[in-house]
Subunit: 469 residues, 2 copies
């Protein structure tokens, strides 16, 4: 089986397919053949999504991107596509509200009081957690703060927070303000791990060494699981273990990892994790957030910011002031759940439930290897891939780095005109992310063709009518 054979041997495997077909790997014939091979697999769920057409996008040039065709959407790392069922599920809840009013809390399909129960099991499966370890609530940065309240407990000299020097801004601001919350000076307690001079990526050995060096000064480690800018997939298990070995906790921001790579948060002994559901989880702009607390921390009276919804359902509506928390990750919930957001996530989880993360990861490794191979001859001093080349050390995203921001932006615009949707991150990077759940080899092949044209256009060569690719 192609996807299973793929994985770390993806490149060899793809070359073999091309050879068997007798067309170059860059050809649409090979792309179509690959899609055909995968079309019957449960990891192919493209038909469950609404793909924007070129006509709807703001910057497309109709002569370069046929208005009626689907665009080439490779930006699931930023906002995933809408599942076809989303509107139906959202409208069902609006109709319930219209016909039941407040009674919807306890009656109807999916009563609202326990509505999050509909999204826990599948969320847990996706992050490699037990059901009891997951809550669905709030938004990512809010959840990161909630994790810190429980897992960053500075005392005495054990007060440092270790993080990636290039952490996502919001995470960094959370670290800073959490330090201040404890009356500590961020300059004193924040310990960034930097890449070696001349390198873009962090080496696991350097991270582990930094953790060991910090030793009993270290209170907590917090990293992005898949780095938003480079696409590096950190070695969560080793870093978490290193943190535990010095007596620190390990928290993980899984924004770019969830639904992208095969997470094992439980087995990796991660203390706490949070994620957003609008990227590879396809739950829409500002979707509800995800939250993980390892079982070993349940029901231990860990400090947390409490709210009535963290109580057991049986006592939640009592009016007495006796905090009676849920015995699992549900204890971290604060407020009654946002219904529209919850079913918006449900629509996407229904699609995920047709496959597994292991299957998706197998297909994803092929797609990204294919992307890399199709661009390989372009890489040099003006353009490079900063994402790790080892498939196990990255997710689906490749980060294409330009020597010049000008060239990067010009290429990005030229791609937009061609109906290619990717994104740009400062400095000088275009992120390309074939989402395992809905992207195809054809998407990747189209991107690569358009990318070459876009580079030419950015270099001053005139755009010409898009040939059939």
């Amino acid at each position: 089986e192609l996807a299973a054979k793929g994985g770390t041997n993806a490149k060899a495997c793809l070359s073999e397919v091309a050879k068997a077909i007798g067309h170059p790997l860059t050809s649409s014939e090979v792309a179509q053949a690959l899609d055909k091979k995968l079309s019957a697999l449960p990891s192919n769920q493209r038909s469950q999504f609404l793909v924007p057409r070129n006509a709807g996008l703001p910057e497309t040039d109709p002569s370069l991107a046929p208005p009626d065709e689907e665009c080439t959407y490779l930006v699931g790392n930023s906002l995933g596509l809408q599942p076809s069922r989303t509107k139906e599920l959202v409208c069902e809840e609006l109709d319930k509200w219209a016909s039941l009013g407040v009674n919807g809390h306890f009656t109807g399909t999916r009563p609202w009081v326990p509505i999050d129960e509909n999204v826990i099991e599948q969320s847990a499966a996706i992050v490699g957690a037990e059901k009891s370890e997951v809550a669905v609530m709030n938004s990512l940065t809010v959840n990161l703060h909630l994790l810190f309240v429980s897992f960053y407990r500075p005392h005495g000299k054990r007060n440092k927070i270790m993080y990636e020097a290039s952490a996502f801004g919001s995470d960094y601001f959370a670290f800073e303000s959490q330090a201040r919350l404890h009356g500590l000076d961020p300059k004193e307690v924040l310990l960034p791990v930097k890449a070696r001079a001349g390198e873009e990526l962090l080496r696991t050995e350097d991270i582990v060494a930094a953790i060991q060096a910090a030793g009993d000064c270290l209170a907590a480690v917090c990293f992005g699981t898949v780095q938003y800018y480079t696409g590096q997939f950190f070695d969560v298990s080793s870093i978490t273990k290193a943190a535990h070995d010095v007596g620190a906790t390990a928290m993980w921001d899984c924004a770019h990892a969830v639904g992208n790579v095969d997470l094992k948060l439980h087995d990796w002994e991660v203390d706490g994790a949070c994620w957003c559901n609008y990227k590879y989880l396809n739950s829409g702009p500002g979707a509800i957030g995800g939250f993980f607390v390892h079982k070993k921390h349940h029901d231990k009276g860990l400090p947390l910011l409490a709210g009535w919804w963290g109580q057991k359902q049986s006592t939640r509506f009592n009016t007495e002031h006796n905090w009676d928390p849920e015995v699992d990750a549900g204890a971290w919930r604060l407020s009654n759940p946002p219904v529209l957001q919850t079913v918006s996530l449900l629509a996407s989880l229904e699609v995920f439930s047709r496959t597994t993360m292991a299957e998706l990861r197998g297909k994803s490794m092929l797609l990204t290897a294919y992307l890399e191979m199709l661009l390989e001859d372009l890489f040099g001093s003006d353009l490079s891939v900063i994402t790790p080349s080892a498939p196990a050390a990255r997710g689906c995203q490749l980060s294409l780095k330009f020597a010049q921001e000008r060239a990067c932006l010009a290429t990005f615009s030229a791609l937009e005109k061609r109906g290619i949707v990717v994104d740009h991150r400062k400095p000088n990077v275009i992120r390309v992310a074939p989402a395992p759940l809905y992207n195809t080899f054809r998407d990747v092949q189209r991107f690569c063709f358009a990318f070459r044209e876009a580079l030419n256009e950015a270099n001053g060569e005139p755009a010409h009518k898009r040939p059939k690719v």
Copy 2:
């Protein structure tokens, strides 16, 4: 003008109308006449809402509540009705997502990045704030914690939190965990204000005296603005002033006040406030929360839990780690806004923008006085109104307290059968809340008629077919 003349003279005013018509106040003729008088006023927006029909409710008895008729919905204190425009606005955003994908962040009607700008101005008008003082984000209990991080800064002996002894559970749990966050023992620092023996309501003089007695031990005061159980509308201005006079801050949970009473958070010098938008604000189950920080605290570097979204829009997407906060309440935002929840609020705010809180409050005082008058002869030792009788000291809600929980629950069930939707709160209370924006005198009159029947039924008298009322 009836509504303007109403207010504190509501009762006299209603009696006059009944006299002029020549029918008893309890008659449907008077209810209809009153509705007619108010029908042309901007405070009457019932037509903008979807009212559930009796048939859709789980417990109605078709012989007592005609299936095709609208139910009598008097529970806006728990979950407001759905504005007719909600589905349209929600579907517009889903359609944008389907056709624009990630481009919806910056393009289309209501781009998502600044989507909260669509709901700030009207939210501010409703709570009596300047635009710069309001943020729309998260949920109530989360926002209460965020306020505490900024406004509860215990140091030395100034570490006490004063609150109502019967505070809503979630608020109490927040107080408790905030004390713990600072390493303090809740038993030491939580100072409840209790009603006098034999009284249900807190007296302003007692609250102020308690604040003065706590003096420089008091760090913060936090009360529900309209008490969820009794319906008491606290004297926000006096209590806030008393807190400031001893050097403490004042935070207000406006869950039951927003859209109900005419708030003046800015003028009252409230430091911080939060609210939910699912009650009188009609934004649906688990709606997005509201947040207020007084202008005097803006741009002063107050401690807060930071996130990238608290930055200025111009620097928000920078990748550097230089926290560049918004100069107003927007600095407290953490995450990118939940789009469906935001437009769900917008649909309701569009209705509010057709009137003013002053107009609504005028009408509301009449409706609640009418409710009180129609029940007056029932009150005694078995049943009483615990809500203040002074219109200025309550919102729209009356809390009907039974001597026995059994009678309370039996009455509640008998009301349900009759298509009357109110709610029950332990111990022994039925809350009845004619929402100013959509309830009518006819609703109130129907409730009162059904309530008498329900009391009889609860007392063992058989239900009979509902006569035309």
